[in-house]
Symmetry: C2
Subunit: 403 residues, 2 copies
């Protein structure tokens, strides 16, 4: 029989709704008589190995609800990617504090940490229930219809591009917006939901699921600019050439890599500037502007999908239920059960851990520079209620007098 203490932590990049899952765990856990204390680790797995723990049972329900509505990881996060040795340290602390259930809210790296800790507990014959709670704006967890955090970030991207398109229509030129997503283009593709009128941007979308060719890019931009007198482009930070080399790294003077060996893509405007410079130099278009959406797309205070909020809460609640009533460890997954409704399942950790989902082929159009109706139908209900709408004047021309 597991002890009455549970531990929850948050890992990886923050999202707009990751605290909903935290509140879901804490509030649901307190409904179980068998649970005495709910601990939280500060800054993810790093907080565990440092024994930097807090007692979340001391939080008021009201403050937990307020924190649930606040973006970014309230417990703090970490970019540490635990290996076997690191996970042994985690397990040592969990055992020392007599933790019976371990919940880790995070992406595919976090689910891998849960998998290894689960194995450590089995090896030691220590009764520990380990549950991974999904979270990532990249939407790249396998086995889920989508992941909490993605819908709100997608909504931000759609609203941003709807505005950028209006701005670009007002002062015509080329506009490039660079979106997060190293391997999966879901978030970049969300820009397509900004379109209302047939000539609205984004006119071109470049995803990491397709090889990027600078020559073809320039041809695409030129054709669009000639057709509409302007061009709005959504680009994933993860675009790469046929050899797999990230376009962003082509010009990086000093390439920064994270603990996973990945080149730093976010927090720099280099890719947008590179693409703008190419267009200015080769296409002789005067007004070319590039924005890198950066951290705003995952942490902007005040742009959230209510669908995402509810689901993020529910995966936290369900995680506790699976832990208390189930007989195995696992990763909570969202399954679409209607248009629009969802159910929750507990997947095996091995089925999720360390794996990366990318956009399915049926979501990407034939040219590779746009999305299909299947993708629009997939994403639309996730964006939530109250999406703002863009309106136009119906121009009624006045006859010229002088010319």
């Amino acid at each position: 029989m597991a002890s009455g203490k549970i531990l929850v932590a948050q890992g990886g990049g923050p999202t707009a709704v990751i605290n909903q899952s935290l509140a879901g765990v804490v509030l649901e856990a307190r409904r179980f008589r068998a649970i005495d204390q709910v601990y939280g680790a500060r800054h993810g797995v790093r907080g565990i190995i440092n024994e930097d723990l807090v007692n979340l049972t001391h939080e008021t329900s009201l403050n937990l609800e307020a924190v649930a509505n606040t973006p970014s990881s309230a417990l703090g996060s970490t970019r540490d990617k635990p290996d076997d040795k690191y996970c042994q340290e985690i397990f040592k602390v969990l055992r020392a504090h007599e933790i019976g259930h371990f919940f880790y809210i995070g992406g595919n790296d976090s689910s891998d940490a849960v998998r290894i800790v689960s194995l450590e507990a089995q090896k030691a014959a220590y009764p520990l229930r380990c549950i991974h709670i999904p979270k990532t704006i990249d939407n790249d967890l396998v086995g889920s219809d989508h992941t909490p955090g993605f819908p709100s970030a997608a909504r931000f991207v759609a609203q941003a591009f709807a505005g950028a398109n209006l701005d670009n229509a007002s002062l015509p030129g080329v506009y490039i917006g660079v979106i997060m997503g190293r391997h999966a283009g879901f978030l970049t593709a969300a820009a397509a939901l900004a379109r209302k009128f047939p000539d609205d941007g984004p006119h071109l979308i470049y995803l990491p699921e397709r090889n990027f060719s600078m020559e073809q890019f320039l041809v695409d931009v030129k054709e669009t600019y000639q057709r509409y007198g302007r061009c709005v482009v959504a680009v994933s930070e993860g675009i790469h050439d046929a050899s797999g080399t990230a376009i962003a790294s082509l010009l990086a003077k000093e390439v920064e890599r994270d603990a996973h060996g990945n080149v730093q893509l976010s927090g720099t405007g280099a890719l947008a500037d590179l693409l703008c410079d190419e267009i200015k130099a080769k296409l002789n278009i005067k007004r070319v502007r590039g924005d890198t959406f950066g951290y705003l797309q995952r942490s902007f205070l005040g742009c959230v999908s209510d669908v995402d909020q509810r689901e993020a809460r529910e995966v936290g609640e369900k995680a506790v239920q699976f832990a208390m009533w189930g007989q195995r460890d696992g990763s909570v997954a969202i399954k679409r059960s209607g248009n629009y409704a969802v159910n929750y399942e507990l997947l095996a950790l091995e089925a999720v851990a360390g794996k990366t989902r990318v956009m399915e082929d049926e979501f990407i159009n034939a040219s590779g520079t746009g999305v299909t109706d299947a993708f629009r139908l997939y994403l639309q209900p996730l964006l939530g209620a109250g999406m703002p709408d863009a309106h136009r004047l119906r121009f009624s021309p006045v006859a010229k007098v002088l010319k």
Copy 2:
């Protein structure tokens, strides 16, 4: 007696509420029996000299209201800065179409165009009433308490920094956000309204009203980082050294200048990247990220101040009333008359045209890296209703067992 035709146009950078002013002009004008037709020029003064005019009297009230709630200039805008000769062309078209009233919604360059056209009409003894309607996210028009468009952009910046601060607290490091504003730091200073708890960012704010020193910047960042273990910085794109040289231009390979001879500051991430590189190189801090807010801060669909919306509508309405009942040309100004209430006045065009307001000294703190309470009191009521709030857990530490 002026004719029954009026012409309205929009100039300069779009804002979230510039179409409120357009709707205000059109809807109010139609209440006057003396006005037959309301024309609009597409893409500002350029549309006038090209006779690219539309009849706004054909718009439905419902669509005008919908467009009013849509960001960015619905008629299209222009960066053209008319000189005397250009204004003579404008006047020629106005006369040919028997325009009796000319309304131009824009910033200080636009007000200067209105001033010159007004002079042309006087020289020709042509009865033309010319009214400038204020608009600019920079808040840099003299004679106004503030300008329509600024409050909504300020709200975006405050919400963005509130989120960026949470993100930075979750994954500590240095975060730099670069904000629009060449000469006036109002919009950058709005980042200060993101702070709730005493240790919240932005911890440092750099304004174009003060000379920027890279050495002092690095000292400031280092001190803040040592105190809080992290550092959030708001930087105006217009920061410059003691000689007046823009920091952004220090590294620009190929400097782009607009029609006003100004170096391109927006639409590139160069300044943020430069500052991040300096911190990485000199302070040995690992996690340093820079975002350039770019066009999102003026055109994001779905972030607007309701106070700003109402005032932008009113300056459009008042412009028509001043034109129809007043005896002179001028520029509509917002005057604060309570906490919080406003009145509208018509200033002489010469008092506004081509002049630039910068932040008053009483709004900037002694160190030059933050704002005063006077500024907070000034800005707070402009942000409007329903500002989202950030909440924290009240950490209750668990005693260590192993260490």
